[in-house]
C-alpha cells in the first residue's frame, strides 16, 4: 500500500504498484517507474462531486500517480502534514490538499456563508475513508482542541481544516458600531463548538 511520509516541506510517496492522487504540478522529482496522468474532472468522488465542485467554485486539480517507486511532492515550499484516517472524516480547504491515497473519498460540503467572508467559494472539501491525506500549510499547522466549554474562534484566512464532531458558525467579533464606522479588523470569524480538532496555520492567506 502506498505510504505517505512528510519531510518538512516535501512529501515522500512510496508507491508499490498502486496509485495516489496529488495536486497537479506538485511533483518535484521521482524515482522508479511512475506514470502521471491528469485525473480529469478533478478531485475524485466521481461525476457528481465534480459537478458540485464546479457549482461551488471549490477548485481542486489532481493528477494520478501510479507505479513503483518514490515520488517527491511539494507545493510553494509550504509545510507538509500527513493525516491518517481510519474511517473518519477530515474537513479541509481544497487548496491545502497535496495528496491522498486512493482509498479515500473526496466530496464537497456546502459551508454556507463562510465562503463569502474569505472569498474561497461556498464549499469545503471532506475526505473520508481509510488511508492517508497530506495537507500543506503556511508554517506548521497547530491542532487546536475544541471541547465542551472550550469553544474556539478562528480567522477564516488561517483556517486549514477540522476533524471530529464539530459545528461551525459565523460570528462577528467586532461590535456593530465599529463595523459601520470603518473597515473593521476581524470582521467575521468561525466559531467551532463540539469536540474535535481544528487545524490552523500561522499565516493568513
Amino acid at each position: 500500500m502506498a505510504l505517505l511520509t512528510a519531510h518538512k516541506r516535501v512529501l515522500h510517496a512510496d508507491l508499490q504498484g498502486d496509485r495516489i492522487r496529488a495536486a497537479s504540478g506538485s511533483m518535484v522529482a521521482f524515482e522508479g517507474n511512475v506514470d502521471f496522468k491528469s485525473s480529469g474532472m478533478g478531485g475524485g468522488g466521481g461525476m457528481r462531486a465534480a459537478l458540485k465542485r464546479a457549482v461551488a467554485g471549490e477548485s481542486l486539480s489532481l493528477m494520478d500517480c501510479a507505479g513503483h517507486g518514490r515520488v517527491y511532492l511539494a507545493l510553494d515550499a509550504m509545510d507538509v502534514l500527513v493525516v491518517d484516517l481510519a474511517g473518519d472524516t477530515l474537513t479541509v480547504e481544497s487548496e491545502h490538499i497535496l495528496a491522498h491515497t486512493e482509498q479515500l473519498r473526496l466530496d464537497v460540503q456546502f459551508a454556507g456563508l463562510r465562503g463569502m467572508t474569505s472569498g474561497h467559494g461556498l464549499a469545503t472539501t471532506t475526505v473520508t475513508g481509510h488511508g492517508q491525506v497530506a495537507i500543506v500549510s503556511e508554517g506548521p499547522v497547530m491542532a487546536l482542541e475544541v471541547a465542551p466549554g472550550a469553544d474556539l474562534v478562528v480567522d477564516p484566512d488561517a483556517y486549514v481544516g477540522s476533524r471530529g464532531q464539530l459545528s461551525m458558525n459565523l460570528v462577528s467579533g467586532v461590535s456593530w458600531k465599529s463595523l459601520v464606522g470603518e473597515d473593521a479588523g476581524e470582521p467575521f470569524s468561525l466559531r467551532f463548538t463540539g469536540s474535535g480538532l481544528v487545524l490552523v496555520q500561522s499565516a493568513e492567506r
Binding site: 497547530m142 472550550a150 467579533g173 467586532v174 465599529s178 490552523v200 500561522s202 499565516a203
Partner: protein, 328 residues
Amino acid sequence: MTYPPGNPYGQPQGNPYGGQQGNPYGQPYGQPQPHGGQPQPYGQPQPPYGQPQPGYGQPPPGYGQPPPYSGQPAPGGQPSWQPSTLNPHTLPDDDNVNPYVFCIALTGGEWFMSKGAMLAYYGDVRFDAVTEYSSVQAWVASRFSSPVYISDWVVAQGHGKLLIGDRGFDLNSYDLDDGNLTIKASNLCAFSKQLELKQSIVPGFVTLIGTGKFIASSNGPVIFVEPPFRADPDALLGWADCPSPSVHHDAQWMTQNLRGMISGALGRASGEERQYDFTGQGTILLQSSEVAREDPAVLRLVESQTQLLTNSQAGSLGQRLIARAQQQ
C-alpha cells in the same frame, strides 16, 4: 548581556594596569567586564584582540531575546498524526507556541492588536476599533497617539487565550523596561496597554515608549547591531535608544553608475544608494529580508504631507504619479 571577556580598555579609570600589554596580576584578562549593556563609548579604540565586535548577534538585555518557545511537539510524532495538539490549558501564557505563533493570555486586560493578526482564540474576547474604544475609555486616546495608524488597529479585551501570527513570519516578544523602541509599523503585531505608541518621524515607523510587552514579526531571525551603522531601509526593522537615523546617499554608487546618477538627480531612489545612517548609542534591529508589506498608513502619511506643496507643485506631482502608474 555579557561582553566578550577580557576587555580592560573600555574602562581605564577602574584599572590602573589598563595600558599594559603584560598582565602580571593574572587579573582582569579573562574576566567579564561589567559594562552593564552600555555600548563602547564613542571614539574609543576597539578591543585590539581581534575579537568579534561586541554586540553582533547578541540582543541586549531588555530588548527581547526571543524567548525559547515551548509547546512544540516531540519529533517522535512523525509521520503519524499529532502535529501539536493544543488546548486552552496547554497553550503557553504570553509566550511563543512555535516560532511563528504567539499566545497572549488575556485576563480581563486590554491589548492593542494589529488588524488581521488574530489567528484564533479561546474564551471570551472582544475586538473593538481603537477609535470606537477610545470614546468609551479615555486612556486609549492618550496611549495611541497616531491618527495615521489608528484605523489599522483594534483593542482586544476579555478573558482567554489569543493566538496571533503574521504572514508566517517569525514572531518575537520584546519587553520594554522604561525604554523606547522604534519599529516598522507593518511588523508590529500587538502591544500591551501599558505602552504608549507614537508615530516616528521616519515614515512607516512607530515608536513604543514605556514599560510593557510588545510582539513584532520579522522575516527570518532578528539581527542586533550597534551604531555606527548604515542599514538598508527595507531590511531595517527598528532601533532602540539611539537617535533617529539620517538618510545617507552613497555618492560612489551614484557617480559610478550613470543611471543611478540620473535617477538620483531626479529624486528617484533606485535602491541601494539610499541608506539609513545611525549614530550615537543604542541598538539597531535588522531582518534578513527586504520584502516589505504594503503599509496602507504610508499612503495616508504621504498624502497628508502634500499639504506642504503649492497648487502648482501638487499639479506637477500628480502628473509624475500618473506617468509612473502608466509605466507599470
